[in-house]
Symmetry: C2
Subunit: 163 residues, 2 copies
Amino acid sequence: MVASDLKVNAIACIPKTMKPTDATIKAWTSLLRAHSVTFSFVEAALKDQKQPPLAWYDVLLELERVGEKGMRPFELQNELLLPQYGTSRLLGRLEKAGYIKSHACEGDGRGQTMVITPLGRQVRKQMWAVYSKAIEQVVGRNLDQAEAKTLSMLHSKLISPNE
Amino acid sequence: MVASDLKVNAIACIPKTMKPTDATIKAWTSLLRAHSVTFSFVEAALKDQKQPPLAWYDVLLELERVGEKGMRPFELQNELLLPQYGTSRLLGRLEKAGYIKSHACEGDGRGQTMVITPLGRQVRKQMWAVYSKAIEQVVGRNLDQAEAKTLSMLHSKLISPNE
DNA sequence: TAAGATTGAGCCTTCAATCTTT
DNA sequence: AAAGATTGAAGGCTCAATCTTA
C-alpha cells in the first residue's frame, strides 16, 4: 500500500445520487439494442449457412491457437466468460460432434485437456468465411476505421474502469 | 465442400473484399465482451435483490407508459425485438405472476390487450431502484457525458445504416 | 391467404448437489 | 477445505405446427 492508493474522498465526492443521467441511460439502452440486432444478424447468417452457433467458434478458435498442447476447461471458461457448468456442457456438445477431443490431463488427475481435431479446424475455417462476412456487414460497412477504434475504446472503458 | 457450394461470381459482381479490418473485428469483439460483462452485472444485481430478470422490466415499462389502454402482444414484440413465441411465453409468465392482465381485444377477436396491474407498477418501480443503480455503475461511473453520447451514436450507426 | 397468437417437443441454460483430486 | 469438473432436474428458448380471426 502506497500513498497514491489512498482515495481522499471528501464530502463532495460521495455521490448522493446513484441516478444515471439521460445520456447514461441512452448509452446503456443503445448497447442492449445494438447487441441484440447485430448478434441476431450474425447468428442468423451462420444458421442460414448450416454452421454451428457462434459460441462454438470461440472455443474452436482458442483451441486452434494453442495447438496440440490444448487447454483446460477452466482456462477456456476464463477466456470465454462462461460459467463452469456452461463450459462443461458446451465442450460436451463439441466433443460429441467430433470437433474437439479430451485427453486425461497429465499432472492433475481432476481435469481434462481439450484439443481441437482436424475436423474442428475445418469447421472453424468454414465458420469464419460466414462470420467474417457478417462482421463486415454489421460493423465494417457502418463505421469507418476511426469510429471502430473509438467504439472499441469506449467498450473497454465499460469493462475495465481505470480509477 | 461440394461442387454445388461453388459460386461462380463474375469479376464485376465483387465490389471489394468482404474481409473486415483488424479495427472492425476488434470493435465487434469489444461489443460482445462489453455486453457480456455489463449484462451479467445488471442481471446479477437484480437477482441479488430478489427482483425479476431484466426482460420483465421492459415489458412492465412499456405497459406502464401506455396506461389503461394497454398494448397488443405484437406491438410489444416489435418494441422489444422478440420473436412471436418468445413474447407469448414472456407475457404468460408475467401474467401468471400477476404483474399484467390480458383482456379480450375489442375490434379484433384474434388478440388480447395486455395491461399492467397495480402490483406490476410496484414491481417495476422496485426494479428500477436496482436497475438504475446498476446502469450508473457500469456506464455512468465509467464514461463522461460526451463519451456516453458518442457511444449511443456509434451504436445507432450499427443498427441503422444511413447510406 | 395472411395476421395474430399459442403450444408440444427438443435443445440449451441455470441451479444446486455431487464427485474427485489437490 | 478448496479447485476442477460434471450432472439431474427445472425452467427458458427455438422450431414448427396449429388455431382463430381478418
